[in-house]
């Protein structure tokens, strides 16, 4: 019976294997069907989540949790999978390197993310992390002929390896002191012993560093801008929404739930990291010329906002994080669809290449404005309510200084988002030829925009859903 609950993962691996064989057997010319099959695979897995809804148990030797939290993130990761597949269909078709393996690696990466989110054992979470990382290293270097892609891969790999070594060292210390790597056991490990021991505090630092690297919190973020700029654009899109969301899910499972005993220590640590990430992310993004690098810093800042929720770690702030992740995923997917389009059409990655876009692709430009307005946090968008909930949870738990820093950073973020909007609307286009949006990218743009507005205006159903699935009561 337990296998029913891990059906989505099994489906993903099965479809991936089929595709692996297909891409090897079918010659390059007729590989058009692969993206469609990938998307179908993700959809099937999403449907497969249904039987597990409403269940609450821990299976496979208390390794895998079957709870609302896991299902919520499974659905989000599969949605990410679909969005990225759609977004990269056009782009990948144009690349010389064989297209098939790209989707295989993508599916394995999403599997890894699901494992990270639904495991209650540090070992399983670490393995999930490694699976996502392995796939990401290869994806980063996918465009072999582009030196930037190679460089992105090597940098991401080396930093990733070092970070996972550090994480491992921390895990070993944690295992040493508590004798177990299972989060469920850790939760009922009595609190006083835990917060007293110096070993655990050091282990905590290594853990925070390891996961901090994954979600690119400042000062562990330095790989992100280079990897984002170097990697092929659809991969950058995936980096900005996939692994980060998984990292956050894991962080929620490990710290607020698992190491609740150490709350006093890591909450201050996360608060500092959040403050630094927001400020550095926004300030550095101000002067960026390349839009992918700007989006890297923007997403670092967004993760900084979310980490406030982690620092506060009250029931309401965890819900706020989940809402923010939901909103963030759709906003970035939509934004990157447009960036992929312009990169694919060779219009360029510089912000000034976006000049006069509003005349060349009016609907797409309007959608971009919706996304930027959401990222800034103007009402009627999911971005506003996301920040609003984080804001309320911070103010409620007395983190007033973080709330005000959030407000100030939103004002600073106007600076660089405005740069792109100004280019699109206030500059004259170099060549006024209209830019046609292909259906697949159009679909991603539309879902992103609709989701941003819907999640924003009708936030009540989403809030109630998150309330149900929230792991922390």
């Amino acid at each position: 019976m337990d296998y029913l609950y891990i059906l989505p993962e099994l489906i993903l691996v099965a479809v991936a294997l089929v595709l692996l064989v297909a891409s090897a057997v079918v010659d390059k010319g007729r590989q058009g069907f692969i993206p469609a099959v990938t998307a179908a695979g993700f959809l099937a897995a999403m449907v497969a989540v249904y039987p597990a809804i409403g269940q609450q148990s821990s299976i496979f030797g208390r390794m895998v949790a079957v709870d609302g939290f896991a299902q919520f993130f499974k659905v989000i990761f599969l949605a990410v999978g679909i969005l990225v597949t759609l977004a990269s269909a056009g782009y990948m078709a144009k690349q010389e390197t064989s297209g098939g393996e790209y989707y295989v690696l993508l599916m394995f990466a999403v599997t890894g993310m699901i494992i990270m989110a639904s495991s209650t054992d540090l070992l399983a979470i670490w393995l999930g992390l490694e699976l996502v990382s392995m796939a990401s290293y290869v994806l980063a270097g996918y465009r072999r002929e582009d030196p930037k892609s190679n460089e992105a891969a090597i940098k991401y790999f080396l930093m990733g390896a070092i970070a996972s070594a550090a994480l491992l060292f921390g895990l070993s210390l944690l295992y040493g002191f508590t004798g177990t790597t299972n989060l469920l056991d850790l939760t009922n490990y009595e609190q006083k012993a835990m917060s007293g021991s110096a070993v655990l505090r050091v282990a905590m630092f290594f853990l925070v560093a390891g996961f901090g690297f994954k979600v690119a919190l400042v000062p562990f973020h330095m790989w992100a801008p280079d990897a984002y700029e170097g990697a092929p654009t659809p991969v950058t899109a995936f980096f900005s929404i996939g692994p980060k969301a998984a990292g956050l899910a894991a962080l929620i499972r490990i710290f607020p739930i698992g190491l609740a005993g150490l709350a006093g220590h890591w909450s201050i640590l996360f608060a500092i990291l959040a403050a630094v990430s927001m400020t550095v992310g926004n300030l550095t993004a101000l002067g960026q010329k390349n839009i992918k690098r700007m989006m890297a810093y923007s997403s670092i800042a967004q993760i900084g906002y979310i980490t406030i929720g982690l620092a506060v770690s009250s029931a309401r702030s965890i819900e706020a994080i989940m809402y923010y992740v939901l909103a963030y995923v759709f906003i970035n997917a939509g934004l990157f669809a447009m960036i992929i389009l312009l990169d694919e059409r060779g219009i360029g990655q510089k912000i000034e290449d976006y000049a006069g876009l509003s005349q060349r692709a009016p609907m797409a430009a309007a959608a971009m404005v919706v996304f930027f307005v959401a990222l800034i946090g103007i009402p009627f968008t999911s971005g506003f309510f996301a920040k609003f909930f984080i804001f309320t949870s911070a103010v409620e738990s007395g983190f007033m200084w973080l709330a005000i820093l959030l407000a100030v950073n939103s004002a600073i973020s106007v600076g660089y988002y405005y740069g792109v909007v100004r280019a699109m609307y206030l500059e004259a286009p170099k060549d006024p030829s209209p830019v046609k949006v292909p259906p697949s990218l159009g679909a991603v743009l539309l879902t992103g925009a609709l989701a941003t507005l819907a999640i924003g205006i009708f936030s009540e159903p989403f809030l109630r859903l998150i309330g149900l699935v929230s792991p922390v009561r």
């Binding site: 070092i162 101000l286 002067g287």
Partner: protein, 643 residues
Amino acid sequence: MMLPYAWLIAALPLLAALAIMFFGRRFKNGGDFIGIAAIAVSFVLSLLVFGQLAGGAESYRFTFTWLNLGGVPVQNGIAVDNLTAVMLVVVTLVSMLVQIYSRGYMHGDVRYPRYYATLSFFTFSMLALVLADNFLLLYIGWELVGLSSYLLIGHWFENPGPRYASMKAFITTRIGDVGLFIGIIVLFLTTGAFGFPEVAAGVAAGKISGTLLTVAAVLVFSGAVGKSAQFPLHVWLPDAMEGPTPVSALIHAATMVAAGVYLVARAYGVFAESTSALAVVAWIGTITAVMAALIATLATDLKKVLAYSTISQLGYMMVGLGVGGYTAGVFHLTTHAFFKALLFLGSGSVIHALHTQEMHEMGGLVKKMPVTAWTFIIGTAALAGIPPFAGFWSKDEILLSAYHYNPVIFGLTLFAAFLTAYYMTRAVVLTFFGKPRDHHKHEHAHESPANMTGPLVVLAVLAVVAGLPGSPLMGNWFGKFIHFGEHEAEAVPAVMVMAIASALLGILVGYLVYGTKLVDRRKAIAVTRPVYSFLKHKMYFDELYAYTVIGGTQALSAVAGWVDKNIVDGLVNAVGWLGAQLGNISGWFDLAAVDGLVNGVAAVVSGAGRRLRRWQTGYVQSYALTFFATVIIGVIIYELIGG
């Protein structure tokens, strides 16, 4: 019973003004007859009202709740009593005559309909002011009158003269109005109402007394100082002569400038309670009277002479009211309105004929323009205070009251009376008698048409007759009709004799100096060099304001030049100067300081952004170094501090 319909008297000119403004162009000569017809009807109505009140009907008052501010009712309405009746007659009569006169004078003017519309609008505002039963409606009329005078002075706004004069007039009177504004507020807050009777009752009941009452009274009086061009806010009236002469006659001689005096009379209840306030009124009146008279003696422009003469006579009226001669002041107001209007219209007729206002280009016009000349002489006689004429009776009353009040004031006013006679004789002699100094102009000078000389004759008759009601001949009827309180200054024959003597002496000296060759003027000027030049330059008031203005402006403009180039050309106006200087400083401050602050913050933020970008060196090992450095240092700090 005509009284309830008194508001019609004011409404008619307003309707006429609107009619002319919208449909004026359609009619043959700009719809001026609408204006004249309306004012004629109003005049008749005023006479009826005056008749009823003279016949003993008691005053009529109609009030309604204009506004209910959450339980605080604000009353508004109109009232007609003896004082109003007199003013109604004076205003409507002079306005009618001026409008008739203007048909000739303003004939062929480019904005003829607009002139008549504004004139009717002025009459409406003046009548509204007079009919008001409370300070609020009076203030509204007060400002509307200021507006119409601004429009009329600036009638020929193509050339620069009227442009500056109109603005100067409005702003200077506005300074006075601010004083009145605060006075009204103080009175309302203490006595709880705007209505004149209520305020007077409140003051009498001691709701406001002592220094606060004096301050309130002086504040109200400051409004009058502004409007009636008393010292020190008198600078605008001489410049107001830039406007058309009929305007000067109506507004700057008879009605508007008299509004200040009317205000003090109407609010006499407030003034009477505070002796020091009355003293202020009296002294300001005296200073203005003497000062203006002195300047008038040397003015070369005919209209300027009359302007300064008006300021001097207004000073007289203020003295009348100040010394307790309530009736005297009001009586002089009415008589002055007639003969000063006559003099202005007369000078208008002369200017119309000769197209110049400079007296040394005139001379010997008595033969050319007999009607204008003789009516002008009658006016002069009335003004100088020769017995049978109106001016004598009213000025005599004032001198009488001044005599009882304070000998110094009496002396000065007597000296002013002498000066009045002197400069009027000089004006008459230079204009109408002696050899014509400018033959070219003299040749085609001709008598003005009927519609101009007609009003002159009517006013001349009034100048003679108007004095009688106040004279003992008609049993001092005017005193009974308009009085405040009971006391009646008993006649002192000596005062009357001295008054007549000073007037005759003035005429004699004036004739001697200008009429005959006996006095060598050049030598006389040489002897009185300092006094002469002092007076010639109108006591340097304009220069005083101008010097402090231009000097101050040039100094500041060097500093704030680029902010406001065209203010540097030196506004001849105390307020304009003060405002301009402060404006420049705050303009500069606004741009540099406050804006700078905001842009500064933006610069800091983007600077920080640039430096942080440098931190991303591109060497993956420096990334790893930062990674581990954070962990190690974090652990050490945490352990050390965390403990």
